[in-house]
Symmetry: D2
C-alpha cells in the first residue's frame, strides 16, 4: 500500500459541502433543517463525573449538500429503467432505486468553471449553461470529460448561501445547465454531475420549478446522479481541474436522496 | 494525477456503515430514527409529466454509524482542552468542538480483529478488549498501529444488527475496549478509533452506561474521535489489515456527532 | 348566560389524558414521541433582560391520548362512505375525512366500567369486552347509552402506563371490545367511543394487530370516532357515570388522527 | 345533570383555532410545522382486507394556535415566582412551570373587539392596543372583565393567516396590547388572555421581537397564560361578548407551551 498511500498522504482534501444549520436555504418542497441539543453537559452527570450532550435533527434527503437517488424523479409515470413507482413506493420508502443502493463514490472528478469562463463571480439567475459553455471551459482549463467522471459545474452561486432568499432565487431564478447541456453530460456517460444551486437546473426568473428537464434527462433517462447545493468556491480557488472525487451517501433505506459531504483530493 | 488515480481506480471500496431504517437499533438516549416519504410519485405531476418524491427524516448525531465530536463528552465539568461547556453550548449547539470543525478524514486505517484472534464469530457481551488483545491481534495480522491512524476494533458485534435488543445489549452488555485499551490507543496517538457496538466501550451485563472510561480517555483527554455502529464484517472478510480510510462527517453546525458512511479503500 | 355558567363554574373538570414524554408507550407503527428544548433561558437574552425557552416536538396523530379520524382505516380498499383512498391521499395528507374536519366535541359522556363490573383493578390482556359486559355495567351503574354519546369503556389498563412493554402488551395482548361489542356501540349510534389501550380493540396474546374488527365496524362502517390511550382512572374514582364530555382535536390538516386532552365535566 | 346538559346541548360551539399545515405562518424562532403521511392505505393490507394510514408530525409548543406555559419567559434571570431557570431546565424540559401543570381550562370568556371599536377589518401593524381601547370596547359591548376570565383581544389580524409574510409582519409589525394594556389585564386578575397574532404583543414595524413587555408583565410577573394565533373571526361574527371558554393544553411534560384548539360555547 506504500506508494498510493504516500501520494494520498501528501494530497490536499478540499471540502465541497455547505454547512447545515437552522435558517439555511431549503427548498419549500423539503423539510426545513432543524437541530436542537436534547441533552447538554450538566443535565445528567454520571457517578464518575462524566456527562454527554446530544441532539435531535430534522432534515430531508434533499436538504443541504445532497445527492439524488434514481427514485427521486419520474417522467410520464415511469422511473429510470421503466420502473413503475407504485410498485416500489410505500411506507418503507422505495424498495428499488433508493439512495442506499448507491455505492460509495470514488472516481475521477472534473470541475468546469463557467463563472470563470465568463469572468464573473457568479452567473446571473436564469442564465442557461450551454453546451458551448461546457466545451469552452473544458478547453480553457485543458481538461477532458471522460466516461465515469464526476462533473462539477461551477456557476459561482454558492456566494449567495448566506442569503437564503437570494440563494433559492424565487424572484431571480438560478443559473444552470439547460436541456442541451444535460444531454451533453448524458452523452458523455458521466457517473454523476453536481452544481451549487438548490435545483441544479436553469430556473428562469419568477417561474419556480415548473419543469426540470435536466432531472428528466439525467436521472430518469440516463441514470446519472445529481448533486446539489455544493460549495465549489474552494475547489475553484485551487486552480485544479481534475481531482479524485469522493462522496459517500448515507444508507438511508428507501430514501430518494441523502445529505453528503463530498470531497476533492488534489495534489498538494 | 495519473499514477495515483490508476491505483485508486483499481482499488476496491469497502463499505463500513450499517443501513439506516425505522426500527433499527438506537440507544434510548438518542432519538429513534424516522424516515417517511412526504411526496410520492403521482402526488404532484408537473405540466410536462415530471414528478418527484422526497422524504422527511428525524435522526440524531449518534444514530446509526456515526462519529463523535469532541463536544460530545465532558468530565468533571470540562470538555477537551479544558473548555467549560456552559460557555459554548446554547440553542445554536456548540460554538466550539462541534462536528462541523472536523475536517474530512482521509488517513491510513488499520483493523484489529479481536474476534478472529479468539476464533469466534463475535465476542460475548461484557468482554473487555485488553491491551494484550490489541497487541496480539496486531502481531497476528502483521500490522503496526501508527500515529494518525484510524484504528478499527472488530468484536463481531455487528452480526446482532438485525436484532435490536441483542445489539443494544441491555441485558448482556457489549464487548469493547476497557480503560487500559483506551489508554493504549491514546498513547499511540491515533487519529480516531471505531468499533461495531453502540457505545464503543466495554459495557458489563445489565449495568447500562453507568461509566464510559474510554470516552473520557479518548474524547476528553486525548481529543481522539470515536466511531460507533460500524459494520466491519466485509472488511474482515477481505483479509486486509491496512487500508485507506475515508470518512466525511456532515457539517452539522454545533452538533456533537454526525452520521457517516466510512469506507476502506484496499488494493483489489 | 348566568344559569349555565353558575352550574359549569361549580362543576369539576376531570382530565382524561395521559402525559406525553420521551420513552412513553407508543405503538411501533407510529413515530416515537420526542421533545427537546431548543432554546433555554439564558441562551439569548434580550436587551431588556427578557429570555424565552421553547421546544421541538416529534410526534404522530396516534401518539399519546388521541382520536382517530375517519381517514385512518379502510376496508377492502374503501374508506367510510365508500371513498377510495387514492383519490384523497397525497403529500397534503387526506383531502377528505381528515381530522381537521372533526368539529370540537361537546356531548353527553358515559363511562362503562368493565373492570369494576368484574371487581378487578384491570382486565387481563386478551380479555374480550362483550355485549353482556356493556349491558351489565350500564345496568349496574344505572346509566343508559343514548344516540350521540361519547361512550368510554374502562378496562383498568391505564395502570400499566408507566411500564411501556406491559402497556403495549406485545406478549400479553390487551383487553378490549370484540366485534360484537363494537357492533353494539354502532347500533346505539354513539358519537364516539374511547378506551385506555393503545388500539382500543381486544388484542389476543402474542398475535399483534393482525385484524382490527372494531376499527372496521366503527370507523369504516359507522363513521364513529375512536379515542385511544385515555386515562380513565380519575373518572372511575369519581363514581360518576354520566358527564359532559369535551374533546377538541387539533386541526391537523389532512391528518388521520390528533393528540387530544379530553375532559369530563361533572357536578362537584 | 339534566338542566345543565340541556343548556349545553343547545349551545353553539365556536372554533377559535387556526388550521395546522405545512407552509403556515410560524415564527422563525420555532420549528416549521411538518406533517407527512408515513403509511397510506394500500401500503400494508392486513389478511382481512383492512389497511391504516398515519403520519409523522414535527412541530413546537408555540406553533399554530397555542398557549404559553409559565416556563416560557423569564426576566432578569427569573421565572414566575422567582424560580431560577437553571434549577428546573434540562433534557427533560422544565421540572416546574411546564405546560403539563396547566389544568384544563373551563371558564368565563370575554372578547374585546378592538377592530370593531375602530370600525376596521383589521388594525394596522404596529398599532398599540391601549387601556382606553380595552375599556371603550368593553363599554361598547356592555361586558365587564372579571377576575378569572379568559380575555380575548381581537385586532382582526387573523385575516392575514393565508399570507405568511403578512401574518408574521416582519416589515409591518403587528397590532397588540402595549405595556399599559398588559398591566390593565394583570390588575384585573384575568386567568388568561389571547389574541390573533403570533406574539400577542404590539410589535413596531421592522423592529422584530426586541422586547416583549406584555410577556414579562403577564407570564413572569402575574402568572397569566397567553394564547396566540387564535382565529377570532367566527366569534366576532357571532356578536356575542361573553361565553364559556374551554381550552385543554396537551400534557407535554416539561414543555413551555402547547398547541390547542380553544372553543367558545355560546347560547344558540
Amino acid at each position: 500500500m506504500g506508494a498510493i498511500w504516500d501520494r494520498l498522504a501528501s494530497s490536499q482534501v478540499i471540502d465541497l459541502a455547505q454547512p447545515l444549520h437552522r435558517g439555511m436555504p431549503v427548498s419549500p418542497n423539503h423539510p426545513a433543517f432543524q437541530l436542537a441539543l436534547m441533552r447538554r453537559h450538566g443535565d445528567m452527570v454520571r457517578p464518575d463525573g462524566g456527562s454527554a450532550a446530544n441532539e435531535i435533527i430534522v432534515t430531508g434527503g434533499h436538504v443541504g449538500t445532497h445527492i439524488d437517488a434514481l427514485a427521486h424523479v419520474s417522467q410520464d409515470g415511469l422511473l429510470h429503467g421503466g420502473v413503475k413507482p407504485d410498485s416500489i413506493q410505500s411506507n418503507l420508502g422505495f424498495s428499488e432505486l433508493g439512495i442506499e443502493t448507491v455505492e460509495p463514490i470514488v472516481c475521477r472528478g472534473v470541475i468546469l468553471d463557467i463563472a470563470a469562463l465568463h469572468g464573473v463571480d457568479a452567473l446571473e439567475g436564469g442564465y442557461e449553461v450551454s453546451v458551448e459553455d461546457l466545451e469552452k471551459s473544458a478547453g480553457r482549463q485543458r481538461v477532458e470529460v471522460m466516461v465515469g467522471d464526476a462533473v462539477l459545474i461551477r456557476t459561482g452561486w454558492s456566494r449567495h448561501w448566506n442569503n437564503p432568499n437570494a440563494f433559492i432565487g424565487t424572484d431571480t431564478g438560478t443559473p444552470g445547465p439547460g436541456e442541451a447541456a444535460a444531454r451533453w453530460l448524458s452523452e458523455h456517460r458521466v457517473r454523476l454531475t453536481g452544481a451549487e444551486t438548490i435545483a441544479f437546473e436553469l430556473i428562469p426568473p419568477a417561474q419556480g420549478h415548473a419543469v426540470l428537464p435536466a432531472h428528466r434527462i439525467l436521472l430518469v433517462e440516463a441514470g446519472i446522479h445529481i448533486i446539489e447545493v455544493m460549495d465549489l468556491s474552494r475547489l475553484a480557488a485551487s486552480d485544479v481541474s481534475e481531482f479524485i472525487f469522493v462522496a459517500t451517501p448515507l444508507k438511508l433505506v428507501g430514501a430518494t436522496g441523502s445529505p453528503i459531504r463530498p470531497i476533492a483530493l488534489i495534489d498538494a
